[in-house]
């Protein structure tokens, strides 16, 4: 009876981050916070007041291990470039509208899923396309869409590179024993 309740207690405690466990979640959280502050400072210096895509890139790309972070960065940049390119082409050829948005998201999904094989999340491409096309619809202008594509591409590139740099510095300062999560 006593043994049973003790094992239940241990199992329950196992759900929480106890000091003896490798604090991977804490490492991730700290890297994300440091990366965000770095992104904030860098992009504000260039006049971008809220670099939302750069911050999201920091969250998506931050890893414990440098190589994993490099692969995630490469994939994110490639998929974003593919998504923005599809959005720009559809905007230039067909203009703005809901059917153009649907067609662009379908094309971006197919391109990203079948052709861009560099790792990372393929959904980044249709998400980028949706943002580019929806911005064009929101402002009734192709040029707003072009601007959104360039902004998103630059922010994702900058945010991913900064996250990679933070991971490199963190790997030097606080090398991990367990490398994945």
């Amino acid at each position: 009876m006593h043994t049973q309740s003790a094992s239940d207690g241990r199992r329950w405690l196992g759900h929480f981050p106890l000091p003896h466990r490798e604090p991977i979640g804490v490492r991730y959280a700290l890297r994300i916070a440091v990366g965000m502050i770095a992104v904030w400072i860098v992009f504000r210096a260039f006049g971008d007041t809220y670099p939302i895509w750069a911050m999201i890139s920091v969250v998506m790309v931050s890893e414990i291990e440098l190589h994993a972070s490099y692969i995630a960065t490469r994939g994110r940049i490639a998929h974003t470039a593919a998504g923005c390119a599809v959005g720009l082409i559809v905007l230039a050829l067909a203009g703005t509208g809901i059917w153009q948005l649907c067609a662009a998201s379908v094309i971006a999904s197919l391109v990203s899923f079948y052709l861009v094989q560099l790792g990372g999340n393929w959904r980044t491409a249709p998400a980028a396309t949706v943002v580019v096309m929806a911005t064009g619809i929101q402002h009734f202008s192709r040029y707003a869409g072009y601007q959104a594509a360039v902004e998103r591409a630059v922010e994702v590139l900058g945010g991913s590179i900064i996250a990679l740099a933070v991971t490199w510095v963190a790997a030097k300062l606080w090398p991990a024993r367990m490398e994945t999560a």
């Binding site: 759900h15 929480f16 981050p17 991977i24 979640g25 804490v26 991730y28 959280a29 700290l30 994300i32 916070a33 965000m36 502050i37 904030w40 007041t49 809220y50 939302i52 911050m55 999201i56 969250v59 998506m60 809901i98 948005l101 649907c102 998201s105 379908v106 999904s109 197919l110 899923f113 079948y114 094989q117 959904r123 249709p126 998400a127 949706v130 943002v131 929806a134 911005t135 619809i137 929101q138 999560a181």
Partner: protein
């Protein structure tokens, strides 16, 4: 005969074309097409529903729908629930921080740390824990684009509704598509049995 002809044809191709052909992902099958179709229908449904509610360009709902769409026949509903749970955690943390403090980089960094840690440690629900801090960044971003606290909170609530609404619509499309797919497979099986 046909096989040897196709091999001969393959050898005649330029080296670059052969490399592209070798890299073509045959193993991925029709999954990409099914994902693309779900995104198409999801976009149309979402656009109409949010349009009826007065939100004519629901960008965050679209992004959320794209990130949540799933095709696995048996696990899609569960996988979508996992993502919705992470997004709900991220939105909740973002809203609380916006309601309590003025928006700033330190608050944003703290909120993201908190939602990442909560999602990583306490939510034993599977799925990608990064969805939570991403939702926090999106929701708290509303506080930076509006000057007053109330306007920022209002925009943050709209973004939260968009994010969670996009997830729910992705779930509904996934459920409907799975049922249609299953029904079509059953019909195909019955037809093949009759033949």
């Amino acid at each position: 005969m046909a096989a040897s002809k196709s091999v001969a044809h393959w050898r005649k191709l330029p080296r670059t074309a052969r490399r592209v052909g070798e890299r073509w992902p045959h193993h991925r099958g029709t999954a990409g097409v099914r994902y693309a179709l779900r995104m198409f229908f999801g976009t149309v449904v979402l656009w109409e529903i949010f349009g009826l509610a007065g939100d004519h360009v629901p960008i965050w709902a679209l992004v959320s729908m794209v990130m949540v769409s799933e095709i696995e026949l048996h696990a899609s509903v569960l996988a979508t629930f996992h993502r919705v749970a992470h997004m709900a955690v991220g939105c909740g943390v973002g809203l609380v921080f916006l309601a309590v403090w003025r928006p700033g980089i330190w608050q944003l960094a703290l909120a993201c740390m908190l939602s990442a840690a909560v999602s990583f440690y306490l939510m034993h629900i599977g799925g990608n824990w990064r969805t939570a801090p991403v939702a926090t960044v999106i929701v708290m971003g509303a506080g930076f684009v509006h000057f007053t606290k109330n306007a920022g909170l209002h925009e943050a609530l709209i973004r939260t509704v968009e994010i969670l609404g996009g997830c729910v619509i992705a779930l509904a499309v996934s459920w409907a598509a799975n049922n249609i797919w299953r029904a079509s497979e059953e019909v195909e099986q019955q037809v093949s049995e009759h033949l």
